[in-house]
Amino acid sequence: MRSLATTSNVRRFVSLLMFMFCLVRCAASGSAQSEPGQTIAGSMPELGELESGNVDIRLYEQSPVQDRWPAEAESLAKPSLTWQSTHFFVSRLPLRYDDWGIRDSWQAPLLLRVSADVKIPQGNHRLLLRARALSRLWIDGRVAASTDALSKSPPDGEEPITPIPTPIVAGMRLPGYRQQEVVSPLSIESDSTCRVVLEVVVGGKGARTETGEVCVAIQREGCEHFELLRPTASRSENIRLIDAEVEPLCKSIERQLAAMDTERRHSAEATRDEYWKKRRDYVQRWLNAHPAPSIPTSGNDAAAPSVHPIDAFIVEKINKSLSSSDVNNSPEARNFNEKVLPLLRAQCFRCHADKANGGLRLNTREAALAGGDSGVPAIQPGDSEASELLRRIASDDESERMPPGDKALTKEQIELVRDWIKQGAQWYARPVQPEDVKLPPVIDDEKFLRRVYFDAIGLPPTDKAVHVFLADQREDKRQRLIRELLADSRLADQWMPYWQDVLAENPTIINASLNSTGPFRWFIYDSLIDNKPVDRWVTELIMMRGNAHEGGSAGFGLAGENDAPMATKAQIIGSAFLGIEMQCARCHDSPFHSTLQKDLYSLAAYLERKAVTVPKTSSVPVAFFEKKARESLIKVTLPTGQSIDPAWPFADETGSTEDDALDELLEKKDDSRERLAALITSPTNHRFAQVFVNRVWKQLMGAGFVEPVQDWEGRMPSHPELLQWLAHDFMTHGYDMRHLLETIMTSQAYSREAIGRNATAEYDVRFFNAPDRRRMTSEQIVDSLYFTAGMSMDVEELTFVHDGRRPMSSRLTLGRPTRAWMMANLANERDRPSLTLPKAVMVGEVMEAFGWTGARQSSINQREGSPTAIQPGVLSNSVLSVWVTRVAAGSKLADIALNASSPDDLVQQLFLRYLSRRPSESERKMFVAELSDGFADRVIETVLSEAQSLPPPLPLVTWFNHLQSEANLIQQEHERRVAAGPPVDVRLNPQWRERLEDTVWSLINHREFVWMP
């Protein structure tokens, strides 16, 4: 129902039709008198005095209706949020947080009221209203314009393509996709101040709580352009409705909203401080009762007080190993340590070392001679034929052959063991050579700077930062650098990928698929940005709060196409925070671990807050056991359908117990999910802090003290005391990840040449005398490609819904990525060109080559790191490589090229920019030679012109129209445009420009660009 305006897109008719209705007599400000004959329900809302000079915006939740205006009786609650703006312009809603500060959803339908008193001069003007759904614009009590409610749900692909709208006035900013646009005349008899109230309905059934770009603008009589409406006494600028003026406003509004979001989140979080203060006190009491291991002080230079505790522990282990090392370097000893022991370790230790299957251990000579439960010694030194071990590995009888399974040892392997027993089965201590444990030098300033930058913020230093750091003469400049970078909010960007992987964050923008989750990336990001203590954010994760589809930790709780989601979550929590791997326990007891099926499902029951049953699919087919020649290694101990209650199975492993002491940490004692969170994050759980410390250590040093980081059972830490000390220190400092990072990064161990072999060494010979060489992550590589080129990441918004007509629960929006971690699974299983996002694909294909995947179906604790030809391939040949190596019109590279004082200067700049170092003499020479020819004449006297303007815009392809053939053609045209790359900068001589591009290309294709120094 509307009388004063229509919502037709056929705007040309609008003004003609409407003129007769629109004689608004402006009365005194605040008047809301309805004229008789008013056909729209309700009247202009009474808002009282409005702050002069500002636009007042109020957001009401749970508006009673979505597709019509509420009657008087259907009254609104108080506004949930009120804020101010400068113009009648709304680009998005502020975020909603729950009372813990975790992202939540607004309770739709929402009503948004945007109001101000506006001075409008005498004259015949035109008003313009843009809104997505039902809206009406009141001027002094009369409705001056309105838009329609969203009609019924759109089809899944067959909607006709929506053409690009034609602007009402040439050069005008176009309305957002499927944003309704209404123009109506406004006649003002004499200059007056009018009360203007815009009411907009947002979201509701079948819709997102997104506004699109809402605005009210006015074209004053005699003016060419529309201007955004702004209040009387506004201190802000007049903004014409053209991109060049609206874009900066969008940016400033976005900054304002982001600051507001942060502030509101912080104040919600602050309500939890009291509880966490109690938790801190509890931790402190525990720490007092359980002091840290003392830092070694003797036998080395560590006696000096300046020695970092980490280095003291590391040097102590090296010295001990050297002094106790068996210097006997006989061929027999080498044979044992290089061949026999690795074989035993690989083939036997899984069941016969820390875990003594059949009572038998084979990890020491004594244990092997003693034998297992049968009492038969496994080894008779000197008599291989009488040794049970040999008999079992050489047996043809599959029912008793060891190791079990279908892969028997090879003849050579059996011979190796036979000879070793024959020669007396001597167990030689592993020799440690001084050169294996020597401490390499600490790296130089250039390398150190680059290493710290990547580890802290995931980006290289700018060339300026390199200059400043190299010039800095202060002795503690490295510590200062570390502290400064750890305080940088981009630390969150650097650590996001790790937790997305470990916690299997797996949002999909089309249908839910295997183990897809909500986008709880935003929960993790907020936690990292706010530097929440780790025990706190892990608790909040396990509590699964906020909205699952809009970034709350509840999104962690989802698991698409999974019939026991909480079992999956329990498995992730176990491996992520306790180092307990329960992957096998989904369907059967673990063959090489002590975890049982029941353990996993009892944790799942905690999360579910009630008993759970084992789904039918989570078992092993009976046929599997029937065809086995021997008793199977795996046992199904839970019949499907069995009900399992919450129970804590890991008291022995973790030290955490279900008892009264735990109750002290709980706010709701009967909430089993909270109970589980406390069992995991309580200081009594010695695994929690250690597992966390171990994970962070590995990220910086290339290997953990305990490997693999997610599966501690039966593994020994390489440096037990150091691990304990770090965990203790981490807890003492309030589970602060930044403190932990600082502790590690300020050690000499972290700063040494990366020649370590820790990742491949067994725990007893893993010394961390040097960090391992690390390849940069996919995210670091992509972010540095953009960063070094001076470009911002520019890809499509990750969604197929641009007009709000689907709730987030069925089609997600993941926003427009600005850092690589914000990318997501772009799988196009339907093989429809219309469902590609060519720019995002361009980024995704580089990330995938280096081991990233957006489809994290289960936890990724270590990305696949093996080198493949595709890795250098995408740096050489991909579309992204074309974009970042082109000297594009108006680009940073063009700028550098135009302003360089000499080829030498240019080469120096490029080396600092791309590799954070100065070129060597031979490098300098070769690149200067490359760029000297034509350098003097490189600049062409011309200006960047309109000729370099963008190709015409293409209609938008969405989920709703993607099955139209035209949709495929449009996306393919996009693909072609993206593949062609940006236009070049015509101010540079093409031949010389290409040589510059080739230089940049070779810098990003050198191994140094992708390997940490």
Partner: protein, 414 residues
């Protein structure tokens, strides 16, 4: 990769439960996303009428080279070649409503698992067979990349290289269009001089990366990229293969000749009818054009492989998400049917019989010789001599290469 390459070859006896081993060396796997309706293609039945809501085929049927085996009238090219073809008419699974899930089932041969990412059939083959020629990739995908088509727990060595457009070559390994060959040569030369100017590293990890830089420069050079240069083929042959899909099939043949073991060629490009093979509602109106495009390309491929002496060594398959029911939906199109549908095997040295397995008079229920998805996978693997009961390992965990699949014995001459 942790596992040794393993393949049974003629010297090793086949396990007792298996029929004589196949001798194929390559697979070209044609994928029809969206779900090919068996009743409108390889398992035709009586004519139906969408207007009268009478269930049945959309088209007439025609005879083929194999007596008593008929196909849709729009498969005129394949019909005379049916002695090299077996339409397996009784493939079945229980996934219906979700395209990604059905795509996953038909690529991995398994129901999804919450704990492991299963490899695709292409990766299974790649994990077991070295390329026929050194330097060639094992597995090439012509279509969009995704996890479903990937190596899962087998790791990147069993992964694919891929291209989405035959005019562009493989992603990461073909020179960008804006860079001429001369310029690419200059770049490589510049990079190599730069690499020489920096001291050689003793770090094995850096050395390994340096060696893949060399490999990448080589693969993206003109020699390997020749496989994608269709202008080396006679114009008449290219015309015989038809449009972009046909050109993809021709690239696949060239890759077979280059030594690649498994090539997946995706068909559903959606241009002919928007919906591709997912012919709900009006999507069905131009389904015949889609079938004809498939027919043109596949018939050309079979003839070409035969002429080149490659047909017996190359198994060509047509697989799809699920089939479609004989009934029509409210818009005159068809829904999904996973309980009985057709996948096709061609060439590869199998003993073809035109069609295998029988459905009822509306291709709705299986009457005889059902073939599970694992059985279908076992047939493909065994045609290459890969034991379908072989265990692969995800760390400690043994994962049989098929989920208990048994090859279709009749196709191996039993």
């Amino acid at each position: 990769m942790a596992h040794a390459l393993h393949t049974l070859h003629a010297t090793e006896p086949a396990p007792a439960t298996l029929p004589p081993q196949g001798q194929a060396e390559h697979v070209i796997s044609i994928w029809l996303g969206g779900g090919m309706g068996q009743i409108d293609t390889f398992d035709p039945k009586r004519r139906g009428d969408p207007k009268a809501k009478k269930a049945g085929s959309y088209y007439d049927s025609i005879d083929t080279a194999v007596p008593n085996v008929q196909v849709s009238e729009h498969l005129k090219g394949i019909a005379p070649l049916m002695e090299h073809v077996t339409a397996v008419r009784t493939v079945n699974h229980n996934v219906i409503d979700e395209h990604a899930a059905a795509t996953n089932r038909m690529h991995t041969g398994r129901a999804i698992s919450g704990t492991i990412t299963y490899p695709s059939i292409g990766s299974l083959v790649a994990s077991q067979l070295e390329p026929m020629e050194a330097g060639a990739p094992r597995y090439v995908l012509i279509g969009y990349p995704n996890v479903t088509r990937g190596p899962g727990f087998l790791g990147p060595n069993a992964g694919y290289i891929y291209l989405t457009d035959t005019s562009r070559g493989p992603i990461g390994l073909s020179r960008p269009q804006s860079i001429t060959q001369d310029r690419q040569n200059h770049r490589s030369e510049l990079l190599n001089r730069f690499r020489e100017a920096t001291p050689e590293s003793t770090d094995p990890r850096l050395k390994e990366y340096d060696s893949v830089i060399d490999e990448s420069l080589k693969l993206s050079g003109p020699e390997f990229n020749r496989s994608f240069q269709l202008n080396e083929e006679p114009e008449s042959l290219r015309a015989e293969y038809g449009g972009e899909f046909g050109q993809r099939c021709l690239v696949a043949r060239r890759l077979v000749q280059r030594g690649v073991r498994f090539i997946e060629v995706s068909h559903n490009l959606n241009f002919l009818n928007g919906a591709g093979w997912d012919v709900h509602n009006e999507g069905i109106l131009k389904q015949h054009a889609l079938i004809q495009e498939l027919d043109t390309a596949v018939a050309a491929l079979l003839r070409d492989l035969k002429k080149q002496g490659l047909l017996d060594k190359t198994l060509v398959t047509i697989t799809t998400e699920f089939g479609r029911p004989p009934e029509f939906d409210s818009g005159g199109g068809r829904g999904h049917q996973g309980s009985a549908f057709t996948c096709v095997l061609m060439g590869g040295g199998l003993k073809h019989c035109g069609a295998y397995g029988t459905t009822d008079d509306l291709a709705k229920k299986i009457v005889s010789d059902p073939v599970s998805v694992p059985d279908f996978f076992a047939t493909i693997l065994w045609s290459l001599g890969i034991d379908p009961s072989l265990n692969l390992y995800d760390g400690d965990r043994p994962v049989p290469i098929t989920d208990g699949g048994k090859p279709i014995a009749a196709l191996f001459g039993v």
